[in-house]
């Protein structure tokens, strides 16, 4: 059924369709509407399962990961400071090989406080051992959430689904909400190991030896590597049933392009328009949307970018003291490319500022004509956003 809903409500719809056994969450702007909607459904009995109202995000994650260890399907959602507060438990959730699914509404981190879109909160969790998927719009947020349960439960690894503050969380779009029976058919109840048995008490995650620790890490690392094929298979399988799939990366007009722009999340939608405009004026530019960040889809990315002479990476986050985080990752992924594409990083939309068609065209013009590619990122300023390319 097609509904005109916000991205937050799209995620909530997805969660309800997936029939989680345990939902534990704590409200934080701009994620709160997910929690509120699920809570409403919990009070009317439509959600099913158990909703645990906890006193913090740290406890939300502790609750979800413990529940997951008993073999049930679990979900939580958070944002920004809440995610930062959860950090310690994120390592536990991954290290204990749970299948927790979490929606993260990307929001700037304090200080100073802000409520708008910025990806640094989830990218700061890069090394916690969670899978990370970044969504472009409301529909993709809904679809990816459903996919996430299947991926997490097969791999026994937790999955984060990212949607951006405001642009997705609070913007309304027509969104296709699948029929419950269809989702039930596609997503079976979890077949997770039940690690706790009252008749045979046990204690999980105790202290291990150095060698045991290394071996557990190795197993997790192998599972992450294997995850690439699982995410791809689940996405294709989803496409066969529901008619929508997204890939690990998406390439638009990249064949023979002289410049490929790499984007993630909502900037991609605007970039599609800017690219089409410049191509109609004869510029050979392509677009590569990165959807999966962990595990990093090196092979899929290289198959798109290896032969491009120029790559521009445009992003809404920064690792202070270096550059945009996606840019660093992409540079590292292409270091062994035979053609050695030139790569320039651009920062736009930090703190939730607007990234419009003009600013993206400015980036493309700049990267297309640039003679020197710099190691440092270029901040796309407001003048560019208003006036187009004059350099």
């Amino acid at each position: 059924m097609r509904k005109f809903i916000t991205g937050n409500h799209a995620v909530a719809e997805a969660v309800k369709l997936c029939r989680p056994d345990v939902v534990a969450a704590y409200p934080i702007t701009p994620q709160t509407p997910i929690y509120e909607q699920l809570s409403d459904w919990d009070s009317t009995g439509e959600l099913g399962g158990t909703m645990v109202k906890v006193e913090s995000e740290h406890s939300a994650m502790a609750t979800c990961l413990s529940a997951s260890l008993t073999g049930v399907r679990t979900f939580t959602a958070t944002s920004s400071q809440g995610l930062a507060f959860m950090h310690e438990m994120l390592h536990f959730a991954a290290g204990a090989r749970t299948a927790v699914v979490m929606a993260v509404v990307n929001r700037s981190l304090a200080a100073p406080y802000g409520f708008w879109s910025d990806q640094t909160d989830s990218l700061s969790q890069r090394d916690t051992g969670w899978l990370q998927l970044y969504c472009e719009n409301n529909q993709e947020s809904l679809d990816t959430t459903i996919q996430a349960f299947k991926i997490a439960e097969e791999l026994m690894l937790p999955v984060m689904v990212m949607l951006e503050a405001n642009f997705i969380s609070h913007f309304m779009e027509p969104t296709e909400v699948p029929e419950p029976a269809q989702v039930d058919e596609w997503l079976q109840p979890p077949k997770l190991p039940r690690r706790f048995d009252l008749a045979n008490p046990g204690f999980s995650n105790g202290v291990v030896t150095a060698k045991q620790y290394r071996d557990f890490r190795r197993l997790s690392s192998d599972a992450m590597e294997h995850a690439l094929s699982v995410v791809e298979r689940v996405d294709k399988d989803f496409g066969r049933t529901f008619g929508r799939s997204y890939g690990l990366v998406e390439a638009v007009d990249c064949e023979g392009a002289e410049l490929i722009l790499v984007t993630t999340a909502t900037i991609t939608s605007t970039a599609r328009v800017a690219l089409a405009n410049l191509r109609s004026r004869g510029m050979k530019v392509g677009l590569c949307k990165l959807r999966l960040f962990r595990p990093f889809p090196v092979a899929a990315l290289r198959s798109v970018l290896d032969n491009a002479p120029r790559v521009a990476v445009l992003e809404r986050n920064i690792s202070l003291g270096r550059e945009g985080i996606f840019c660093s990752e992409i540079k590292a992924a292409l270091v062994n490319s035979p053609g050695h594409p030139k790569i320039q990083g651009y920062l736009a939309g930090i703190g939730g500022t607007d990234v419009n068609q003009h600013s993206i065209e400015w980036v493309l013009q700049d990267a297309f004509s640039r003679e020197v590619f710099m190691d440092q990122p270029i901040w796309v300023d407001d003048a560019a956003a208003e006036g187009g390319y004059n350099a």
Binding site: G202, S204, R218, S220
Partner: protein, 568 residues
């Protein structure tokens, strides 16, 4: 490494099946949990300190015998109080702000209706120390009951032909049926109490009793009407409220007549409703909002109005008569006090015509040789907080010594005096001061004779506020009253009682504040599995080898029984 190896659930996370008992985590501890039952707010609110939480817990399990036994720890009159008490306890109920107070009075009635239990003896230390109790109202009955439970031979002396005092003579049967009162009286008299009726005591009799008994308690009440002090009070057809309630012939006179009752309290409401039941043509209550004590509960006002009684705020200034009989009450207009809605009927007419007037504006001690040598305080006999008068061996309880004229206050004063007498006669003054610690007058008698420390009467259990959020809101159980049309034709009991199922459900709403019910949360949430039940009872103790002082047990204790102690 193969696909199956890195996804094999048995390999991917460590799990140990060994015990962690070897780790003496208790050595980390800086403080330990303390298990201590505390007063529930309702118990503190009850002048008689009834053990409500325990009674509720018993009733919630369907154990009405246990519930009744819990009430009998402190009260001789559960059947009576389950009907007529002003239930101050309920206004203190922690459930009040959540979804409505537990209906404690209705539960006391249910315990007395469905349960059976004998009073428990507290000690035999009073053996050979006889005490006389003069007056068998709620104060005298309570004193006799508790003195007998402490081993004293008790002689209970009543001036009228039946025991019960104001319970028998002052409270109409539609509120307190005779057979209900008799049920409590029978239980009280199963103790070592010699009850005599038709035996008024004069000054000589009192002196004699003081000679033959080690102590005498005066619980004679206040039977003299307070006069209005306005012209016309001597007219025929003007009678005091209590006289009206006591006298069948006076009641018969109201048939077909227009009756005005003056007063705002229980006696006024009772007189009006009795007049309705005796066929009065019209019954009006005139109450003076600036002067009157209002009735103990709104329920009675509502019930009276349902039965056709009309209430008007007015200030009588004169009774007007024709040929020596009252024919009207003149009233002055009532001024509205600043910000206080003291006058509900703004345009009160000046003259209310009538055939009979019942004045019920309060009771006085009256004159008696019994009190001639005693000190007085605001119209009552002066005594210390435990009822000791200036005359050695003579104690006072009930309305004669107090302005707080409710059944439960009278009962409580009887209990206080009984303890004072017992301790004065047996020389155990320490525990008396413990019982009255902090200047409080409510205390548990049961606890004075129980091994272990006496709980501080000033400490009320701090319940876990989180239980407000998690407790599902449920409406208090209620039983319908008798239809108003049926009520006015007789003296059938008005208030309906809960059935056993309803009572069990109502008791289940109780949080049992301050009382351990063995819910096991403290043990369940202890991360070191160190909280355990002791002696198979509902008491918990932390194993010092493993309790690391984290306080989880205290945080989850809904009832405020487990708290964290001071730093070691």
């Amino acid at each position: 490494m193969s696909y199956h190896t890195f996804l094999d659930p048995e390999l991917i996370i460590p799990i140990s099946r060994l015990s962690t008992e070897a780790f003496k985590t208790g050595s980390w501890s800086r403080n330990r949990p303390v298990f201590e039952e505390k007063n529930s707010p309702c118990r503190v609110g009850c002048p008689n300190a009834n053990n409500i939480a325990t009674a509720m817990y018993m009733a919630s399990k369907g154990d009405y015998d246990g519930a009744l036994a819990a009430f009998l720890e402190e009260s001789p009159l559960p059947s009576v109080c389950g009907r007529v008490c002003n239930h101050a306890c309920q206004s203190k109920c922690n459930r009040g702000d959540h979804d409505g107070s537990v209906q404690i009075r209705a539960m006391e009635r249910a315990a007395s209706d469905f349960g059976s239990a004998r009073p428990e003896m507290l000690t035999d230390a009073g053996k050979g120390l006889p005490v006389a109790v003069i007056g068998s109202g709620p104060a005298g009955l309570a004193a006799a009951y508790h003195l007998a439970r402490m081993g004293h031979p008790v002689r209970l002396i009543e001036a009228r032909e039946r025991l019960g005092g104001l319970l028998t003579w002052g409270i109409p049967g539609y509120r307190l049926p005779e057979e209900i009162l008799n049920r409590d009286l029978k239980r009280i008299l199963s103790l070592d109490i010699e009850a005599v009726t038709n035996r008024p005591v004069d000054r000589a009799g009192l002196d004699q009793l003081l000679g033959s008994h080690r102590a005498v308690l005066l619980a004679t009440g206040t039977w003299a009407p307070t006069p209005m002090g306005i012209p016309g009070e001597e007219l025929g057809g003007v009678c005091p409220g209590l006289d009206f309630l006591l006298n069948d012939a006076l009641q018969a006179q109201v048939k077909g007549r227009r009756v005005i009752v003056i007063g705002g309290g229980n006696t006024a409401i009772d007189a009006a409703r009795v007049a309705v039941r005796n066929g009065a043509a019209k019954v009006d209550i005139l109450y003076r909002p600036d002067l009157e004590a209002l009735p103990d509960s709104d329920d009675e006002v509502r019930e009276a109005e349902e039965e056709g009684v009309h209430r008007t705020a007015a200030h009588p200034v004169e009774f007007v008569g024709e040929q020596g009989r009252v024919s009207a009450v003149l009233c002055k207009e009532i001024e509205r006090a600043d910000g206080i809605d003291c006058c509900r009927s703004k345009a009160a007419p000046d003259e209310f015509s009538c055939d009979l007037v019942i004045t019920a504006i309060g009771q006085s001690l009256g004159a008696s040789s019994l009190y001639s040598e005693l000190d007085m305080d605001r119209g009552r006999i002066a005594a210390d907080r435990q009822g000791r008068t200036v005359r050695t061996g003579l104690y006072i309880a009930g309305d004669a010594g107090s302005l707080r004229a409710t059944v439960v206050e009278a009962m409580a004063s009887g209990k206080r005096a009984a303890v004072a007498i017992h301790h004065d006669l047996t020389g155990k003054t320490d525990s008396v001061s413990d019982a009255f610690a902090g200047g409080r007058e409510t205390f548990s008698l049961h606890e004075l004779f129980r091994p272990g420390p006496i709980r501080d009467p000033n400490v009320t259990a701090e319940i876990n506020r989180y239980s407000y959020l998690t407790a599902v809101a449920t409406q208090p159980q209620s039983a319908p009253n008798l239809d108003a049309n049926l009520r006015v034709s007789g003296f059938q009991e008005v208030a309906g009682g809960l059935d056993e199922g309803g009572a069990e459900a109502e008791a289940g709403r109780c949080f049992y504040c301050g009382t351990c019910i063995g819910c096991d949360l403290c043990a369940t949430f202890c991360p070191e599995v160190s909280m355990g039940q002791t002696n198979g009872k509902t008491a918990y103790e932390a194993d010092p080898d493993h309790c690391k002082g984290c306080g989880a047990c205290a945080s989850v204790c809904v009832r405020g029984v487990v708290t964290m102690g001071d730093e070691l």
